[in-house]
């Protein structure tokens, strides 16, 4: 029997560690086995199961763009047993990765459209992958707007890239922090993400909105987009329920008839209408 053991992870070397925000780190991972790296492929929106050997596995998206080959990146916050195990690893050490799992953002379908990315807090990583993917194929899209908010200036992740995006002439970048989270020299917006979206979002015409954030942010941003004239098939999000297997077996992320890990994590708002909102 030469069947592959789905649960056996790839061994990855942590090539680079970037401290993003308090408790938040980005790891750049390289396959230890070159032959695995050669055949590995993924698309924007997919996720994986990351192992800290000795602690267990945790689910996060692949935060790097599929257009940047040879490595993958993940960004996570140190919150539980596994993430703190991961956080204690250093450059050069080994961790595990299983994936890529789940569906993808339909970038091909979005050709010729305006894109508006709306993200909150630690939910920028799943967005970062698709943002870079879109920027690397910039000629395929019209206007690109990024709206990103966090609790405080300190909590904004990818600070270098935020600056890079803001400096690009072909990107409109809006950053915001929750009221009270600003510093004296803060030049961005102040306010919760839904409020800022209402203020700065582009016209709904020929535009796709991609929303990612904590459940509460998503639930308040959707009505704003609706008010702005976005129809349900113009709005996309990526969900994350608790997962163990990542491949539709363990039963945790089952919501209605769908498995977040298999039918998602990317959903259009139209698709979300078919699953019960209370269960994600």
């Amino acid at each position: 029997m030469s069947e592959k053991n789905t649960y056996l992870p790839y061994l990855m070397t942590i090539e680079k560690v970037i401290k993003e925000a308090p408790g938040v780190k980005t790891y750049r991972l390289k396959f230890q086995d070159e032959s695995e790296a050669a055949v590995f492929d993924f698309k924007a929106g997919q996720f994986g199961e990351y192992s800290a050997f000795g602690e267990g596995e945790s689910t996060f998206c692949i935060a790097s763009s599929p257009t940047r080959r040879g490595y993958i990146e993940c960004t996570f916050r140190d919150t539980g047993r596994v993430t703190s195990g991961l956080a204690s690893l250093e450059e050069g050490s080994t961790m595990g990765f299983r994936g890529p799992y789940g569906n993808v953002f339909p970038l091909d379908e979005w050709k010729g459209k305006n894109l508006v990315f709306i993200a909150g807090g630690i939910a920028l990583p799943p967005m970062r992958c698709v943002i870079w993917n879109a920027l690397d194929l910039r000629e395929n899209f019209k206007d690109i707007t990024i709206i990103y908010g966090a609790k405080s200036v300190n909590d904004l992740v990818y600070k270098e890239e935020l600056k890079e995006w803001a400096d690009r002439p072909d990107v409109r970048m809006v950053t915001t922090v929750d009221p009270g989270g600003q510093t004296a020299d803060w030049k961005g917006e102040i306010g919760f993400v839904p409020t800022i979206v209402e203020k700065v979002a582009p016209s709904a015409e020929n535009t796709i909105a991609i929303v990612c954030g904590p459940p509460i942010m998503i639930k308040f941003t959707f009505p704003v987009l609706e008010k702005l004239g976005f129809s349900d098939n113009q709005v996309y999000t990526t969900l994350e329920n608790r997962m163990k297997c990542g491949v539709g077996k363990c039963g945790r992320c089952n919501v209605g008839k769908l498995y977040i890990c298999k039918d998602g994590p990317v959903f259009s708002k139209e698709e979300l209408n078919f699953i019960p909102a209370e269960e994600y």
């Binding site: 050997f53 050490s93 080994t94 077996k249 039963g251 945790r252 089952n254």
Partner: protein, 336 residues
């Protein structure tokens, strides 16, 4: 498929030859006031006077806890040791009820609907099932309502229907069944023309599956979940005795620099099953978890996997400390 007759004495000889072949044999044994599958060596150990074992046979193909792989850390490097299917011994399950054998199909559907589950399939490949059709049932049994029957052969390699003379009709159903018969072919005599259906318990269907499925499609926001689940105390007894429940957890067993990743049973009824690290819990209330259990078995699985997640064995109803009777609840949904 071939039908044969085997005498009472022949059955005993055949059993002995299976044991002699070196395969592990699990059969229902009565001990501590409960009948459950245990490793046996002699036919005399096997219980025959019971309606249902407390636990299903699923643990043979989906162990309660199983090593997915093991690893060793050394100077920042990690060495992995994959699960080895060759370590699983050949296993024969003797005197399995049809509702238990029928559980293999939904179980495999869950494990293989997307990617193949190497571990489950390895267990399945090494397991042969000799089922006994049912001459008795009790008020918790309802296999006939969920596409099953007391003589259902799904999941069985050989099915025996015991006759009044102590012999049995032997239906040899699969190549694995033929291999078991080949251990002692001489005891399998020509079919005497006994009618199997004469020896099966009469169990009228209690509800219509299509009707239930249709009702459930519209029942997500029904108050029925809250009403039915009020007395549910949120333990995992129903899920753990169920022949088709497959929800699992993945855990870590660490001893210094060595470790094993372990898959173990879990249950959607546990309050922390879906808890996010952030503290958000999509299924916060017991009623939501009860709804998930019923919908998953009777709506999601039929729609997504084309199998029902219930074989009508009635174990959950028997095991429940607070009498959450599945049959009663499903029939009441069907009647709504």
């Amino acid at each position: 498929m071939e039908t044969k007759y085997i005498s009472q004495g022949g059955l005993a000889q055949w059993f002995e030859s299976i044991i002699a072949s070196g395969k592990r044999v699990y059969a229902p044994v009565n001990s501590r006031g409960q009948v459950d599958f245990k490793l046996v060596k002699n036919l005399s150990e096997v219980a025959d006077d019971y309606i249902q074992t407390t636990q299903s046979i699923k643990a043979t193909v989906y162990p309660k806890a199983e090593v997915l792989f093991s690893y060793e850390k050394e100077h920042g490097k990690v060495n992995l040791t994959d699960f080895d299917p060759d370590t699983i011994p050949e296993t024969v399950l003797w005197r399995v009820h049809p509702c238990d054998a029928a559980g293999f199909r939904p179980l495999s559907a869950i494990f293989n609907w997307d990617s193949a589950d190497k571990l489950h399939n390895a267990h399945l490949a090494k397991t042969s099932v000799i089922s006994f059709s049912c001459a008795n049932a009790d008020e918790s049994c309802f296999c006939t309502s969920v596409n099953g029957s007391p003589g259902n052969t799904s999941g069985s390699d050989v099915q025996l229907t015991v006759l009044p003379d102590g012999g049995a009709i032997a239906e040899i159903l699969t190549p694995k069944g033929e291999a078991l018969v080949a251990l002692l072919p001489s005891v399998f005599e020509a079919d005497r023309g006994d009618k199997k259906e004469h020896y099966l318990v009469d169990l009228p269907a209690r509800f219509s599956l299509t009707e239930v499925n249709a009702k459930l499609n519209k029942a997500f926001n029904s108050t029925v979940w809250k009403e039915q689940s009020e007395r549910c105390i949120g333990c995992g007894a129903c899920a753990f005795v169920c022949p088709t429940c497959a929800c699992f957890d993945i855990q870590e067993d660490v001893h210094g620099s060595k470790g094993r990743r372990i898959r173990c049973w879990d249950a959607c009824g546990f309050s922390l099953f879906t808890l996010h690290t952030s503290g958000h819990n999509p299924r916060e209330h017991q009623s939501q978890r009860w709804r998930q259990r019923i919908l998953h078995k009777f709506s999601y699985m039929p729609d997504r996997l084309s199998v029902v997640g219930c074989t009508g064995c009635g174990r959950c109803s028997r095991a429940c400390p607070v009498d959450m009777n599945l049959l009663e609840h499903i029939t009441s949904i069907a009647k709504q």
